[in-house]
Every structure is written in C-alpha cells, then in structure tokens.
C-alpha cells in the first residue's frame, strides 16, 4: 500500500514537473511562454520585424 502511495505521489510530482518544463520551455514557436495568460504574446507573432 505504501509503495502504491509513493508511486502515485511520484507520478503526480513527475507530471507536474513535465508540465512546468513544457510550459516554460515550449518546443513550438506558437505555444506561448507558459504564463497561462490569455493575452500572453510570447513568443512574438509570426511576422519578422526588421531593425
């Protein structure tokens, strides 16, 4: 029972870690920075802005 409990807790903590890693270091350019803000503009739109 204790092993099961520890496995479950480990799984939850692991999933939380994976979620945060994916949220703060997104692979796709369109996923945003992970701040969960509906207005989040990170990364910038697909327009290239010239200097």
């Amino acid at each position: 029972m204790i092993i099961l409990e520890y496995l479950l807790v480990g799984l939850i903590v692991g999933l939380a870690l994976v979620y945060l890693a994916k949220a703060f270091w997104p692979k796709s350019k369109k996923t945003g920075c992970g701040c969960s803000n509906a207005h989040c503009k990170v990364p910038k739109p697909d327009l290239k802005i010239r200097a």
């Binding site: 479950l8 807790v9 870690l17 979620y19 920075c33 701040c35 969960s36 207005h39 990170v42 990364p43």
Partner: protein, 728 residues
C-alpha cells in the same frame, strides 16, 4: 484541403482608435480586445469572415497608423502586411479602410496613401451614430462617386452596417475598385521618375508606386531595408531624388502632407454638412475642462485611483470568506477520504487544496480591480490620464505615449511591454520596457492583501488598510521615475522627451457587455493560472517541503523532549501524537526546501525574514504569486495551521522565530510585512516578463533588468525594515 494561396485576404486598416478591432469582432464573431484609446492592437490579428457566398475570408486586423511612413513597430507591422512584405504573407486582396466619420479629412490621408499600393478598397465610415448625434451629415453617395470606391456607414460596436459592408466587399472583390490618386506636380513626378528609373529599370527592383512615394517623402524610409540594391547606393539615389524635389520648390519632408490635403480638400467639399449643434461646446469638451486641468485633473486622477483601491479592499471581504469556506470544506472532505494514505493526504490537503486555495481566495479582488479598469477604459478616461501624466513623464525623458504601456502593466507587465511597440523612439521604448515591471501588476495584489489584512488592518482599521494598498501600487512608480531619469541620462544622453500627440476619444457610456467580457477574461486568466502553472508549482513546492522523510525524526524529537520511544507501536503512536507539531516542524526543517531556505536565510536576515519567508521569496522568482501557496504549504506542513487559524493571516500572527537571538519572538510584525511588500513591489519575480523583455530587446537587457530590479528590491526591503523596526 484549401491551400493558403487560395484563401482571400482582407485587411482592416485605419487611424488609431477608429474602431477597427470592434469591426473585426463584429465581422468575425471573435472577441478581440477593444479599448476606447489608441494602441490597443499592437500586432496583426486574424479571423475568419463568412461572406455568405460560401467563401470564408481571412480578415486581418492591423494596428492603427496615421500614415504609411511607419515609425513605430506596430505601424511597421501594418505597413508590411499591406505591402505584402510580411513573412509568408502575400499582400491582401482587398483593404477595408476604417474611417472615423468625425475626422474624415485626416483619415482619408491614409486611404489615399494606400491607394498607391494598387489594392482594391472599400471605405467603412465608422462611428456613424456619434456623427448623427452631433448633427454631422455626410453624403455617402457623393463621396463614393468622388473617391471611386464603395463607402459604407457602420457602427461597429453595435454591429450596424455589417450586412451592407459584406455586400460592398463582395462587389468590390469582383470589380476591384481603386481609390482616386492625387495628380502630383511636375517636380514630384520627375523625382519619382528618377527613383523609378534607378531602382526599377536599372536595378530590377520590384516596387509599387506607393513604395516609390514612400522612398521620396519619408526620412529614412523603411522601404530601403527591403531593397536588393546595396544600402549606400540606395541612399544616394533617394538623396538625389529628394534633392531634385527640393530644387523644384518642395520640402521633401513637408510636401506630402501639403499636396495630399490639397488633393483631398476639394473632394470633401459639400460632402459634410455640419449643423448648428456642432458649434456648441460638446459634452466631452466640457468634461475635459475639469479632467485635463493641470491641477484639478491630477486631483481627480489621484482621487479616482484611491477610490478604486479602497473598493478593491473593502468590497471583496464576504466573497473571500465564501471561497475560504469552500476551500476548508474540500480540505476536510479530502482529509477524511485519504486518512489511510498520509503522504497522499498531505499532498492533496496541504499541497494542492491548501496551496491553490490560498491563491484562489483573491479572485474577488482581481475581478473588482478589472471592473474599474474596464470602466475607466470604456469611458475614454484612460487617454485623458495619459495626457495628464505626460507632464510628469517629461522630466524623466519619457512622454505620455509611455503611459498606456505602463498603465497596462498594472494589470500584467507582458501586454504592457508589448504595448510599447506604439512608441516610435527606440530609446524611449527601451526605457519604458525596463521600467514596466515596476508597475504593480495584479499578481502582486494577493501579496499586499494578505499582509495588509494581517498587520495593517487589525492595527489601524480598514481605511488605513485601503490607503496602504493604494500606496503600495505607487511604490514601483516612485522608483520607476528616477530610474527612467537615470536611464534617459545614460542611454538617451539626456535628450529631451519627444512631443506627445494622442487623439482624445469621446467620452461614452460604458457598454455592459464589454465590461463583463473584460472581467470574465481577467477572471478566467486568474483561474486558469491557478489551475495550471500555480497548481503544478504547488505540487513541486509541496514535494520539496515534504521530502525526505527520515524515519528517525520522531525519535529525535521525542528524545529532545526527554521521552524515549519504545519499539511498541502503541507507545510510538502516542508520542507522535503528543509531539506532532514538533515532529512536523522537524520534518519541514530538514526537507530539501527547508535546508535551502536556512542556507539562503542570511541574505534576507537584514530585511527581517526567517527561513520560511526566504523559502517563499525564493520559490516566487518564476511567478511572484507563488509565495501565497508556498507560505500556505510551509505553515501547514510545519503543523502551524490549526482550527484556530481561520486563514494564512491568522497563522502569520502566531509564527515565531525558532532559533537564534530572536528565538520565541514573533516573526511577523508591521516592519516585516512592509519589507516583504516593498520587496515584491520592486523585484522582478516573473519568468514570463523576463522572457518578453528578452524577445522585445535582448537577453542582456532581460538579465540586466532581472538582476538590477532584484538588487533594488533587496536594498529597499532592507531599508524599509531597518527604518520601520526603529520607529515602531
């Protein structure tokens, strides 16, 4: 499947604050953010518009611009899309120019520039209802005949004129009407001829007439950067053409305005009929006499902000109690259900429900704050506030254009930093970006409310508590002003602020739908954040505060208290129950986060923080509001939350120093509370903001901003603590 190239594209362009986003929403059914001030849209937005003929069209909402000679980044985005130079985006098949009916002449200036790009055009005369109320009559048919393109009256925010616009666009897609273009005088024609011959005929450049015009009339035209011709050669060609124009009797910098308005004025003759009603001073102008007054205007502004923060503080009480009650009920339920699995029980009860619940309890305040922000935006007061602030901003080298981004940063620094794209001067924009994180964003609100509720209100009452909350929102601004001054003196070499020109929108009665939507969006953001990032971080922080769990901790605690635990399980259970609080505290102290907090505590000792506050502060660097859940979990795991503690505020009052010279003394007092609040007001505890600064400027500036603001926050927190502790 449709290919991108097959999709028809229609762009909405127009001057700032003419209602482009409102029209975009009306046509696409989307809920794009709109505001009664310029600069709300700082990048292109796309949506699908069903024209009813079976064809769906991609509708592009562009940032407002007064002309195609783009200076700021948001204007350049608009111009790039229009000219077909946006990466991977062909030029639009048709342009809908949204024109503010009250400023027809100035708005048509942009339309006449766009006409030179040979794009078919339809003109939407927006805010038709306001014009009617003001006794302004416009002969649309005559205007249509003179301009050569369909002209449709619309009231975008009430969806009036949408069907007529759809019909006009369907027709225009077939007939491809192009607006009448000015006939330039010989000197301009010759200068344009020089450019055409050098760039198109000799160098094989692919340039439209409108782009040649931009090269001729704009100082440092952005078109040059798109050319294949080497930059020095291109600049020499442009210089010679501009010189030719000057010799022809026209100043190249002023010629375009002069000639275009000379062309537009006769076209608008007899089109506009102004009735006597317009001669009276409008209600908007009357209100502006007071709200823009150099002294009374500022008094009204400060008074209004004071009322907002007092209301945020006092109205939310009953709703907070309700959320706390629901959280407590859930904790009780989960604790009962998971009694046989103590680790899982702790994760769910102390970690997830306790941590997230401590954060969610501040939802009512967030909703009330955004209610006021929406009201101020909708009425048109925000643009006035920008003008009022312009004078204050001038001395530190900024101007009123920085006000809207800084004000947006009071909700969240991310859209605030994005909004700096409206600032054309790169150095001013950079300074505004660097000070934007100092504006007190809504994530700081829970921290202030928690500490003010625990240490200010019980001592001085709700009025002072509200005033403290109000004052805390200006701590960042007080530091931002000298910082901006210093940055201006160094980065900008003390150059005086550029003049600020902003169109004042009319005052209007706020629309309930828009206000409700703004509150809903902010509430949704808050709850989504609680359910995603905060939720995940809460689990990690719980794990770091809970593990490891060495089996000998209860024995050591018992031994320290003079009790020996025998091997019999009944004796062990009894002792563990007797010393449960001490055992919890011992487990917490030797947890990973506990050890780290004790290691880092000396850094924050001069600010009066114990290791638990240090843990909260350090855990909050990715997102500052995490301190609430971290402290919630820390005190719950440390056994310091009991039936007496109604919430975290009560727990703070009973927390004491566990060791050192202050052992037994209360950890929290007014000095510590003020010190924490000042630290959070100034510190750069937001990973997302650092990322946005890196995107908008570069990583060097982002890191400089992070370390700089964190250093300033530490110094200020120490100063506040050391001064306050000597006074109280």
């Amino acid at each position: 499947m449709r290919k991108d190239a097959d999709i028809l594209r229609i762009a909405l362009i127009g001057n700032p604050n003419t209602g482009k986003s409102s029209l975009f929403n009306a046509l696409t059914g989307l809920k794009q953010r709109v505001g009664n001030y310029s600069g709300v849209t700082v990048e292109k937005k796309t949506g699908e518009w069903n024209l009813g003929d079976g064809n769906a069209i991609e509708l592009i909402d562009l940032p407002g611009t007064y002309s195609l000679s783009a200076k700021s980044i948001d204007e350049r985005i608009a111009v790039d899309v229009l000219c077909g130079h946006a990466e991977g985006q062909p030029a639009p098949d048709l342009v809908v120019v949204v024109v503010d009916v009250e400023n027809l002449q100035r708005n048509l200036f942009l339309a006449s520039q766009a006409a030179e790009l040979n794009v078919p055009m339809v003109i939407a005369l927006n805010c038709w209802d306001v014009a009617e109320r003001k006794g302004l009559k416009i002969d649309c048919k005559l205007l249509e005949q003179r301009l050569g393109v369909p002209v449709v009256p619309t009231v975008a925010n009430r969806r009036r004129g949408v069907d007529e616009l759809r019909t006009a666009v369907l027709g225009a897609l077939k007939t491809r009407p192009v607006m009448i273009r000015p006939s330039w005088p010989d000197a301009v024609k010759e200068s344009l001829g020089l450019l055409r011959s050098a760039f198109i005929e000799k160098n094989g450049e692919n340039l439209k007439d409108g782009e040649l015009t931009r090269l001729l009339f704009d100082q440092k035209s952005a078109v040059i950067s798109r050319l294949k011709t080497p930059k020095p050669d291109a600049e020499a060609i442009v210089k010679s053409a501009r010189e030719h124009l000057r010799k022809g009797g026209y100043n190249p910098d002023a010629a375009e305005s002069l000639l275009r308005f000379r062309f537009l004025n006769p076209l608008l003759l007899d089109i506009i009929e102004r009735q006597a009603i317009l001669k009276q001073r409008s209600r908007s102008e009357g209100i502006d006499q007071l709200l823009l007054h150099r002294f009374w205007g500022l008094c009204v502004f400060v008074g209004m902000m004071y009322v907002v923060f007092q209301s945020v503080y006092t109205w939310a009480g009953p709703f907070m109690d309700l959320i706390e009650g629901v959280t407590g009920w859930f904790q009780g339920l989960a604790a009962g259900a998971l009694e046989s699995t103590p680790t899982l029980q702790s994760l769910v009860v102390d970690g997830i429900i306790g941590g997230v619940g401590a954060f969610v309890v501040f939802l009512p305040q967030i909703l009330i704050l955004f209610l006021f922000i929406a009201l101020l935006e909708e009425t048109g007061y925000m643009a006035r506030a920008a003008f009022l602030m312009d004078k204050l901003f001038q001395w530190c080298g900024l101007n009123g254009k920085s006000f809207v981004p800084l004000l947006s940063s009071y909700a969240c620094a991310i859209p605030g930093i994005m909004a700096t794209r409206t600032i054309s001067d790169p150095k001013t924009r950079m300074i505004t970006i660097l000070i934007a994180p100092l504006m007190s964003c809504s994530a700081r609100l829970p921290v202030y409310l928690l500490l003010i509720g625990a240490f200010v209100e019980p001592l001085y009452g709700p009025a002072v508590a509200g005033a403290t909350l109000f004052a805390m929102h200006f701590v960042g601004a007080l530091v931002a002003a000298p910082l901006a001054y210093l940055l201006n003196q160094t980065l900008n070499k003390g150059r005086p602020a550029q003049p600020f020109i902003m169109e004042l929108p009319h005052y209007r009665v706020p629309r309930i739908g828009s206000i409700f939507w703004r509150i809903y969006e902010s509430g949704k953001d808050f709850v989504v954040r609680a359910g995603t990032v905060i939720f995940a971080m809460t689990i990690i922080i719980w794990a770091l505060l809970y593990f490891p769990r060495p089996a000998d901790v209860p024995f050591e605690v018992a031994r320290e208290n003079g009790v020996e635990i025998t091997e019999s399980s009944t004796s062990k259970e009894a002792v563990m129950q007797q010393f449960s609080r001490e055992i919890d505290a011992a487990y917490l102290e030797q947890s990973y986060m506990g050890r780290f907090g004790q290691l880092a505590q000396p850094i924050f000792d001069p600010a009066g923080y114990d290791w638990k506050i240090t843990v909260g502060v350090l855990a909050s660097f990715p997102a500052r509001e995490v301190i609430i859940s971290t402290l919630g979990i820390t005190y719950a795991l440390g056994g310091e939350v009991d039936e007496e503690s109604k919430d975290l505020r009560d727990t703070f009052k009973s927390a004491t120093w566990e060791s050192g010279p202050r052992e037994g003394e209360p950890v929290y007092n007014l000095a510590v509370a003020l010190s924490i609040m000042v630290f959070f007001a100034l510190c750069m505890q937001c990973g997302a903001t650092v990322a946005v600064i890196a995107r908008e400027l570069n990583w060097s500036w982002a890191l400089a901003s992070f370390f700089g603001l964190t250093g300033i926050a530490w110094v200020a927190a120490v100063a506040v603590y050391q001064i306050t502790i000597r006074i109280i």
